[in-house]
C-alpha cells in the first residue's frame, strides 16, 4: 500500500463520519479533523518526498501504486507523484483546511454542505495523484459536479444561473477532454498494447496528424477550467455566487486542475503539436491576462474583482506553460501555488467582511481598517502578495515566469511577454483601488462602527494561508528545486523536438 491511497481513503472516511453526525457542531468538527489529518498527510508527503530524493531515488514517479481495474481496456487505478504533484497536493491540503474553518458558521444544511465540499476535495486530490488518464478524468469530473450543488444551494445572488453556467461550461470542457483522452489512448501503442498510463504514453510519439487534431481538444478542454479566454465567462459568475469556502476551493485549487492538466497531459504527451500551435494559445492566454486585469479594475463587487483577478492570474499560468522552457514552466507551477493560496485568502477575507457588513460593493464601505484591523491588515498582505511585492509568493512566481518567457529570442515571444507583463501594473491599480476605497478613508456607514474583528476560527483560516504565502516568498528555493527536478524529464522531451513553429 502506498501512502497515496490515504489521500482517497481519508476523505471517504470523513464523509462517512459526517453522515453519522447530527448538527452543525458535530459535522464541522468531523470535517475539520478529517481535513486536518489530510493537511498533515500532505506535509508528511512533502517530507517523505524530499527524503526519498535526498536518498538518491531517481524514479520519475514516487510512491507508485498500481492495480489493474478493467483488464481488457488496460485501465489501471494507478497512483504516483513527482515534485509538481506533491506541491499541488500540499496546496490543496492547506486550502481545504482553511476552507473548512471559513465555513464554520454554515447553518443551512451543514452536513450536506461539508459532504459536498469534501467530495470536491477528494476529486482534486485524486486528480493530482493519478497517473492513469482514465482515473484522472474520473476524478476531474468528480471534482466539478459538486460545484453545482454547492453554488446552487448555498450560494448568493443569481446562484442558479451561475451554478448552471459553470457546470455546463466545465462539462463542455470535459467533453473536449474526453475526445482528447480517447484519441491519445487509441494511439498510445504502436505495437498493440493500448494504455492510459501517462508515463508509458510519454515514451512513444503520437503520430503528428493525430497530435494536430487532439492537442486543441485536450488543451482547450483543460483550458476552460483554467479560464482560457474566451471560455472564462463561467468563472466570474461562479465565483461571485459561490459561498466563501467554495470560492476559495474553486479559485484556489480547482482552477489549477486546468493548468496542471494542460502541461501534464496536453503538452507532455503531444509536444510536437504543442510547439506548432502554441502561438494561437499564447495570444489567447495573454488576452486572458490583460483583459482579466482590466475587467477587475472596473468592478465594484469585491468577489467580481477577485474573480477577474483569478482569470488574469490563471491566464498567466497557461501563458507560462506554453512558453515551454524550464524557467517559465517552473514559474507556472509556483504561480499556481502562489495564486491558489492568495486567492483563497482573498475569498476567505471577502466572506468574513461580507458576513459583517452585508455588502460587497466597495463604494458602500470605507475605513474598515479602523474597526477590523486584523482583517484589514491581512487584506493588505493578500493584496500586496497579489501585485507581486518581493517577500511574498506572487513576486517569486511572476519574476520566474517573465524571466523564462523572455528567454525566447524571437520577436513574437518578446512582444507577447511584454504585453502580458503589463498586467503587473494593472494589477497594482485594481489592488490599490480596493485597498484605498475599502480600508482607508472615513467610515461611511455608522453601522460599521461596532463590527467585531476576526474570531479564533477565522484567524486559523487566514493565518494558515498568510504563513504559507510568506514562506514561499521568503524561501522559494525548496519549492523551485522540488519542481525543477521533476520538470527536467518534461523539458528534455520538449527540447528534443525540432521546432517547426510558425514563429
Amino acid at each position: 500500500m502506498s501512502i497515496l491511497n490515504l489521500f482517497i481513503i481519508v476523505p471517504l472516511l470523513t464523509v462517512g463520519g459526517i453522515l453519522l453526525t447530527r448538527d452543525l457542531k458535530q459535522s464541522r468538527l468531523v470535517s475539520a479533523i478529517g481535513m486536518g489529518i489530510q493537511m498533515i498527510l500532505s506535509f508528511v508527503l512533502v517530507y517523505l518526498y524530499l527524503h526519498e530524493r535526498a536518498a538518491g531515488n531517481m524514479a520519475t514517479m514516487l510512491f507508485t501504486y498500481d492495480a489493474l481495474w478493467f483488464p481488457t481496456l488496460n485501465i489501471h487505478y494507478a497512483l504516483g507523484v513527482d515534485g509538481i504533484s506533491v506541491a499541488m497536493i500540499a496546496l490543496t491540503g492547506i486550502v481545504v483546511f482553511a476552507g473548512i474553518f471559513a465555513s464554520w458558521k454554515m447553518t443551512y444544511l451543514p452536513r450536506e454542505f461539508f459532504i459536498s465540499l469534501i467530495i470536491l476535495a477528494s476529486g482534486v486530490f485524486g486528480f493530482f495523484i493519478s497517473v492513469d488518464l482514465f482515473t484522472m478524468f474520473l476524478f476531474y469530473e468528480l471534482a466539478v459536479i459538486p460545484m453545482y450543488l454547492l453554488i446552487g444551494i448555498w450560494g448568493s445572488g443569481p446562484k442558479e444561473y451561475s451554478a448552471m453556467k459553470l457546470t455546463l461550461m466545465l462539462m463542455a470542457g470535459s467533453a473536449m477532454l474526453m475526445v482528447g483522452i480517447l484519441g491519445i489512448y487509441f494511439f498510445s501503442a504502436p505495437n498493440g498494447h493500448l494504455t492510459f498510463n501517462l508515463m508509458e504514453i510519454s515514451k512513444i510519439k503520437i503520430p503528428l496528424e493525430m497530435q494536430r487534431f487532439l492537442f486543441p481538444f485536450t488543451f482547450v478542454g483543460f483550458g476552460i477550467l483554467g479560464a482560457l479566454f474566451p471560455f472564462h465567462t463561467w468563472s466570474p459568475d461562479g465565483h461571485a455566487s459561490a459561498p466563501t469556502a467554495v470560492s476559495m476551493l474553486h479559485a484556489g485549487v480547482l482552477m489549477k486542475l486546468g493548468g496542471y492538466g494542460a502541461f501534464r497531459v496536453a503538452i507532455f504527451l503531444m509536444p510536437e503539436a504543442a510547439h506548432e500551435q502554441a502561438w494561437i494559445f499564447l495570444i489567447l492566454t495573454s488576452i486572458s491576462v490583460v483583459y482579466g486585469a482590466f475587467s477587475a479594475a472596473v468592478q465594484n463587487d469585491l468577489k467580481y474583482i477577485n474573480a477577474y483577478s483569478s482569470v488574469s492570474h490563471c491566464g498567466l499560468v497557461l501563458f507560462a506553460v506554453l512558453m515551454m522552457n524550464q524557467t517559465a514552466m517552473n514559474g507556472a507551477i509556483v504561480q499556481m501555488i502562489s495564486h491558489g493560496l492568495m486567492t483563497a485568502l482573498f475569498f476567505a477575507l471577502i466572506g468574513m467582511i461580507y458576513g459583517r457588513t452585508h455588502t460587497r460593493i466597495i463604494q458602500e464601505m470605507g475605513g474598515l481598517m479602523k474597526v477590523i484591523p486584523f482583517l484589514g491588515v491581512v487584506y493588505v498582505i493578500a493584496g500586496l502578495a497579489s501585485l507581486g511585492l518581493p517577500g511574498f509568493s506572487g513576486f517569486v512566481a511572476e519574476m520566474i515566469i517573465f524571466t523564462g518567457a523572455f528567454q525566447h529570442v524571437d520577436l513574437f515571444h518578446r512582444v507577447i511577454t511584454i504585453m502580458a507583463a503589463s498586467s503587473i501594473v494593472i494589477t497594482a491599480v485594481y489592488i490599490l483601488r480596493v485597498v484605498g476605497l475599502l480600508l482607508m478613508g472615513p467610515i461611511k456607514n455608522d453601522h460599521f462602527l461596532h463590527l467585531d474583528d476576526a474570531k479564533w476560527y477565522e484567524r486559523i483560516s487566514t493565518i494558515t494561508l498568510v504563513l504559507a504565502i510568506t514562506a514561499i516568498g521568503v524561501a522559494p528555493f525548496w519549492l523551485t528545486n522540488m519542481i525543477n527536478y521533476s520538470l527536467a524529464p518534461i523539458v528534455e522531451k520538449l527540447a528534443a523536438i525540432q521546432i517547426t513553429s510558425l514563429f
Binding site: 481488457t72 474520473l138 453545482y148 444551494i153 442558479e160 462539462m171 480517447l182 487534431f213
Partner: protein, 475 residues
C-alpha cells in the same frame, strides 16, 4: 432432440409455466383474496430469476430456429433483473382498489411480452425472430391501455398498437426482401450469402427502419412521448427500459452477424441517425414538464448513444452496448422508481411538484439525483463507465467527431437532468409534497436500483464477464 436439450430453453419454459400458474391461481381465488397473487408471483419470479443464473450451455434446437449461448442467457438474465425491479416497484400501484380485479392480467401480459423477448433474442432465423417480436409487442399495447377508463391510457394503447403494426409491416417487408435476395431465412445462411447488392441494401434499410420504430430512434420516435405519458407509470418504465433493452440486444447481434458485410454502408446511416436521435431527443427533453414525458425523451436520446457502440463494430462495441444497457436499466429504473413511488402515493407527475422535495423526502431525492447523474454519465456512478466505454468503442473506429457530438449531447442532457436536481434541492416551495413512507416492496425495488447504480461501475468484473462472452459471438 432429447429431454436435456429441451432444458436449455429453461428461461422460456419456466416463464410460460409461471404465467399459466398465475392464471390458474387467479381462477381459483375469491375476488377479495386477489391481492395474494402479488406476493406469490413475486416469489415465483424471483426463483425464476435466480435459476436463470445457473450455468448454461450452447445449443441449437428445432433445426436452427432456436439457439442459445452463454451471451444470450446473460442478456435474458439482465432483462429478468430489470423486470424483477419493475414488479417490486408496481406492487403499491397494483394494490389499489381500481386494479384489484385485473392484477393477474398485469402479470400475465407482462410475462408474455418477456417470453417474446426471450424468443427474439434466442432466434436462429427471421421467422422465430418475427414471432418473438410480435409476442413482445402486442401484449404491451394491452398493458399500456391497462387503466382503460383513463382516456390517455386508452389512447396510448391504440397508438402503440398502430405504430407497432406499421413498423412490423415495414420490418416484414424487409425480411421478405432478405428472403428474396438470399433464398433463406436462417441467420447462418443469410450471413454467408449477404453481399452488398442493391436489393440487399434495400432489404436492410426496411428491416432497420422497423427496428428503429421499436427502439424509438429519430425520425421514427413520434409515438414514444404520447405512449409513455399515457401508459401507467410502471408500464412506461417497462417499455422504455426492458422493451428497448431487448430490442437493442437483438439489433446489435444482427448488425454484427447477419448484416456485418454491409457495415461500410450501414455505418453512414447509423452515423446520421445517431446524431439525429441524440440531438432531437435532447432538444425535446429540454422543454418537458411532465416527468414521464421528460424521461421518455431522455430515453430517446439514450438510444442514440447505443448506436455509437454498434458503429464501433468490434468486441469493444458489443461489450459496451450490453454493459450500457445493463447500467441504463438500473439508472432508468432508479429514476422511474422514484417517479412511480411519488405518482402512486400523491398522483403528482409534474416537475414543479418536485420543488423542495429534499426537505420532505431526502432519501427519494438522493436516489433520484444519483439515477439522473448516472443517466447523464457523471462519475462515480455507473453511467459514467457505461458512457465512457461506448464512446471508446466509437473512437476505436475513428469516429472522433461523432464522439464529440455525443459528449456535447451528454452535456445538454446534463442541463435538463440538473433541472430536476434543482427542483428537488434548490427551489423553494411553501407546500412541498408531504413526507411519505413507501411500503417494503417499493423500497426493495428502489434499493436494488440504487445498489446497481453504485456498484456496477466500480465492479469491473461484470464488464469482463460480458466481454468474455461477447468475444465468442464475433469472429
Amino acid at each position: 432432440m432429447n429431454f436435456s436439450d429441451i432444458l436449455t430453453m429453461r428461461h422460456e419454459l419456466m416463464l410460460t409455466v409461471l404465467a399459466l400458474v398465475v392464471l390458474i391461481i387467479d381462477l381459483n381465488l375469491h375476488n377479495r383474496d386477489k391481492h395474494y397473487i402479488i406476493p406469490i408471483t413475486l416469489a415465483l419470479f424471483f426463483i425464476h430469476t435466480v435459476v436463470g443464473f445457473l450455468p448454461a450451455e450452447k445449443s441449437v434446437l428445432f433445426g436452427g430456429m432456436y439457439q442459445t449461448k452463454p451471451l444470450l442467457v446473460m442478456m435474458k438474465n439482465i432483462l429478468n433483473v430489470g423486470v424483477l425491479i419493475i414488479l417490486l416497484q408496481s406492487v403499491t400501484w397494483l394494490k389499489k382498489e381500481e386494479n384489484r380485479e385485473k392484477i393477474s392480467e398485469y402479470f400475465i401480459l407482462l410475462f408474455s411480452t418477456l417470453i417474446g423477448m426471450y424468443f427474439m433474442i434466442s432466434s436462429g432465423d427471421f421467422l422465430m425472430f418475427y414471432l418473438g417480436l410480435e409476442l413482445a409487442t402486442i401484449p404491451i399495447a394491452a398493458l399500456a391501455a391497462y387503466t382503460h377508463h383513463n382516456t390517455k391510457s386508452a389512447e396510448a394503447g391504440i397508438k402503440l398498437l398502430l405504430t407497432s403494426a406499421l413498423s412490423s409491416g415495414i420490418l416484414l417487408f424487409g425480411i421478405s426482401l432478405i428472403y428474396g435476395a438470399t433464398g433463406s431465412i436462417y441467420f447462418d445462411t443469410v450471413t454467408e450469402l449477404y453481399k452488398n447488392s442493391p436489393m440487399q441494401v434495400l432489404a436492410f434499410i426496411f428491416f432497420f427502419t422497423g427496428m428503429a420504430f421499436k427502439i424509438s430512434l429519430v425520425p421514427f420516435h413520434l409515438w414514444t412521448a404520447d405512449v409513455y405519458e399515457g401508459a401507467p407509470i410502471n408500464v412506461t418504465s417497462y417499455l422504455s427500459v426492458i422493451s428497448k433493452g431487448a430490442a437493442a440486444f437483438i439489433l446489435i447481434i444482427l448488425m454484427f452477424t447477419v448484416f456485418n458485410k454491409i457495415a461500410p454502408i450501414y455505418n453512414h446511416i447509423l452515423y446520421l441517425i445517431a446524431v439525429l436521435t441524440m440531438t432531437v431527443g435532447n432538444l425535446f427533453a429540454l422543454r418537458q414538464k411532465n416527468m414521464k414525458r421528460f424521461l421518455a425523451f431522455s430515453s430517446i436520446a439514450q438510444a442514440g448513444f447505443i448506436l455509437l457502440g454498434i458503429l464501433g463494430g468490434n468486441v469493444l462495441g458489443m461489450t459496451s452496448v450490453i454493459y450500457f444497457v445493463l447500467v441504463y436499466i438500473f439508472s432508468n429504473l432508479g429514476a422511474f422508481g422514484v417517479v412511480s413511488a411519488i405518482s402512486t402515493v400523491t398522483g403528482k407527475e409534474s416537475m414543479d411538484d418536485y420543488d423542495g422535495l429534499y426537505a420532505t423526502n431526502p432519501k427519494l431525492s438522493l436516489l433520484m439525483m444519483l439515477a439522473l447523474f448516472s443517466l447523464a454519465g457523471i462519475p462515480p456512478v455507473a453511467g459514467f463507465f457505461g458512457k465512457f466505454f461506448l464512446f471508446a468503442s466509437a473512437a476505436s473506429a475513428g469516429y472522433y467527431w461523432l464522439v464529440f457530438i455525443a459528449v456535447l449531447n451528454a452535456t445538454i442532457s446534463l442541463y435538463y437532468y440538473l433541472l430536476v436536481v434543482k427542483a428537488m434541492f434548490i427551489n423553494k416551495n411553501e407546500t412541498p409534497l408531504a413526507y411519505f413512507k413507501s411500503d417494503l416492496a417499493t423500497r426493495t425495488g428502489l434499493v436494488l436500483a440504487g445498489l446497481g447504480i453504485f456498484i456496477l461501475g466500480f465492479w469491473s468484473q461484470i464488464y469482463e464477464v460480458i466481454n468474455n462472452l461477447s468475444f465468442g459471438l464475433i469472429h
